[in-house]
């Protein structure tokens, strides 16, 4: 399939890199700014939820849960204050789309959040942004001030009688705060340790109130869906269950890394790497691809004809996750790579669950032993055993995120590990 066959309408990427795009003036004039909000105020909450359901919008943070269904979980009868929280923690390694959405199209996020708040009956919203995005937090705050000054936030928005306050809340460097209940604890001023579920946030989330947590890219889709209809949004996607476009974050050893906005389910991994990103750096051989952030099990070069969408990747034992595609050429040692990935999870494990806290450390140590030429014959079986004892045995998905990559690297690239153990050195070492 050629490039053009897959290309379609884009919602965001044309504004990225344009410093003007972040102003309210640009948003109103060039992007039909806040017209969806006006339209939404004329709709019932159920109608908006129906449109979002029809749009086939699925959570863009990694889990891929249908957004309309999630919004429908909010108990209408609850008298407790409700909250809408935007997960802007963007800490999954390989993911860098929300950063551009926030720094170039902040009003799209604000409008999406006001509509979301109106729909679920929340009058308070928070954007939980990772602490390192200092500059992006400032830009968001400036956009929020503009929105307040012009009546798009605050009391009685656009004369609708609906009030909504929005606050930027900075994280402080903890991957686990991207997990929604870890995030909520952090928002409340606690350690970002994930909670036991149930209760799910829709029942008891922030400050004990019913809460929806949505990713940045998910919320920025809402104004488009309200304005042009769920059906239209669904038609942007090429897969049955996935609507809209998707921002693919490509990094690693390709010629043109960066963001690519493509129809959901519109391209294969091979097309993305070779047609869009210009192939492998230095025309080297492809060795491995991590398709959905570092938590996604690795793929071999034989597996890249897979369509980049939720179901096709799940079918071959990996995941689309946050659409962070990391490409590895023959130049980099895969044992070193999985050691580095595991080092990350060991560092970020919150420590609540023993399998994750202890297991990640053991996996890291064994991987380093192999990488540094001191590996033992039984180490591969040991690694698989530790990983299996983490997988599915922890409160949150961090345990699975650490185990899955180790299982897949050891199973798919066994020869690389064996070469280290047998040769008593890393073949890539100088």
């Amino acid at each position: 399939m050629s490039k053009s066959a897959a290309s379609g309408e884009t919602l965001y990427i044309q504004h990225f890199g344009n410093e003007e795009a972040r102003s309210l003036d640009y948003y109103l004039k060039q992007m039909q700014g806040y017209t969806a909000l006006k339209k939404a105020f004329g709709m019932k909450a159920e109608q908006i939820i129906d449109e979002v359901k029809a749009s086939n919008l699925r959570g863009r943070g990694g889990a891929g849960f249908p957004t309309g269904t999630k919004w429908g979980f909010i108990p209408k009868a609850s008298q407790k204050p409700k909250y809408l929280v935007c997960n802007a923690d963007e800490s999954e390694p390989g993911t860098f789309k929300d950063r551009d959405l926030m720094r170039f199209t902040p009003h799209l996020l604000i409008e999406g959040m006001v509509i979301g708040g109106y729909t679920i009956g929340a009058h308070t919203g928070y954007i939980y942004i990772r602490g390192e995005y200092t500059r992006e937090a400032k830009l968001l705050r400036a956009a929020i001030d503009e929105a307040y000054a012009n009546g798009y936030l605050g009391k009685n928005i656009l004369g609708s009688g609906f009030s909504f306050d929005l606050t930027v809340h900075r994280g402080a460097g903890a991957y686990i705060c991207g997990e929604e209940t870890g995030l909520l604890n952090s928002l409340e001023g606690k350690r970002g340790e994930p909670r036991v579920k149930p209760p799910f946030p829709a029942q008891a989330g922030a400050f004990g109130g019913p809460t929806i947590v949505n990713n940045v890219e998910t919320l920025t889709a809402i104004p488009f869906i309200v304005n042009q209809g769920g059906k239209w949004f669904a038609s942007l996607g090429r897969a049955e269950k996935s609507g809209g476009t998707r921002l693919f974050c490509v990094s690693g050893q390709v010629k043109k890394p960066g963001l690519y906005e493509l129809p959901s389910g519109g391209v294969t991994l091979r097309q993305l790497i070779y047609d869009y990103c210009g192939g492998i750096l230095g025309d080297k051989k492809l060795r491995a691809v991590i398709p959905g952030g570092s938590s996604a099990p690795v793929l071999t070069p034989d597996e890249i004809d897979v369509v980049l969408d939720i179901e096709p990747l799940m079918k071959i034992g990996s995941m689309l996750g946050s659409a962070g595609v990391m490409v590895v050429s023959e130049d980099y040692c895969l044992v070193r790579l999985i050691w580095r990935i595991t080092k990350f999870y060991e560092h970020e494990s919150c420590g609540q669950c023993t399998p994750c806290r202890e297991g990640c450390k053991w996996m890291k140590d064994v991987l380093w032993r192999i990488e540094s030429g001191k590996g033992r014959d039984q180490d591969l079986a040991l690694l698989l055993d530790i990983a299996e004892n983490i997988n599915g045995k922890t409160l949150c998905a961090l345990g699975d995120a650490a185990a899955g990559p180790v299982l897949s690297f050891v199973r798919k690239f066994k020869a690389d590990f064996e070469a280290h153990i047998r040769g008593k050195r890393c073949p890539h070492a100088p």
Partner: protein, 157 residues
């Protein structure tokens, strides 16, 4: 006791307070603001944050120690944080760390004797498409190589 945190700190927190249904939610924002004034979080400053929020000082330490961005020890005037996660390592970040070690004579986690530089290996900064990346204090620097790193550091010297 004389207050260690400025009027600016208290004004900022007072403005934020109505945004949250609980005062404890001000803990992260107040630690950020306090660190902005001192460059790190001295124990007395954490105690003052505890008193302001109305929680036990141990609760502040429990939270502060969970997050990597809160400096519980003083750091150099320029805090260099080089990402060595997957995407940055695939693009040569390990070379940047080695170069920093050589140029500054310190290992990751250490501060130069003159307190001018601290170097840390950092986890993913969310700048993978423009890797390798680093933060110098609050600012991102992307698409780095040893030459660019030297140029940036030369400007500081």
């Amino acid at each position: 006791m004389a207050k260690l945190l400025s009027k600016k700190f208290y004004d900022e927190m007072q403005k934020l307070e109505p945004r949250y249904p609980s005062k404890v939610a001000l803990l992260l924002p107040s630690l950020h603001a306090a660190q902005e004034e001192y460059g790190w979080l001295p124990p007395e400053v954490m105690d003052e944050v505890a008193a302001y929020i109305g929680i036990h000082p141990a609760q502040v330490r429990e939270v502060a120690s969970f997050y990597t961005m809160y400096n519980l020890k003083p750091v150099g005037k320029t805090h260099i944080k080089i990402c060595t996660n997957v995407a940055c390592s695939l693009r040569g970040a390990e070379g940047l760390i080695k170069h920093c070690e050589k140029r500054l004579g310190i290992k990751p986690g250490e501060t130069t004797k003159d307190h001018r530089f601290t170097v840390h290996e950092e986890e993913c900064l969310g700048a993978c498409g423009t890797a390798p990346a680093m933060m110098l204090n609050d600012d991102y620097h992307e698409n780095l190589d040893v030459r660019r790193l030297d140029e940036i550091l030369d400007k500081l010297s």
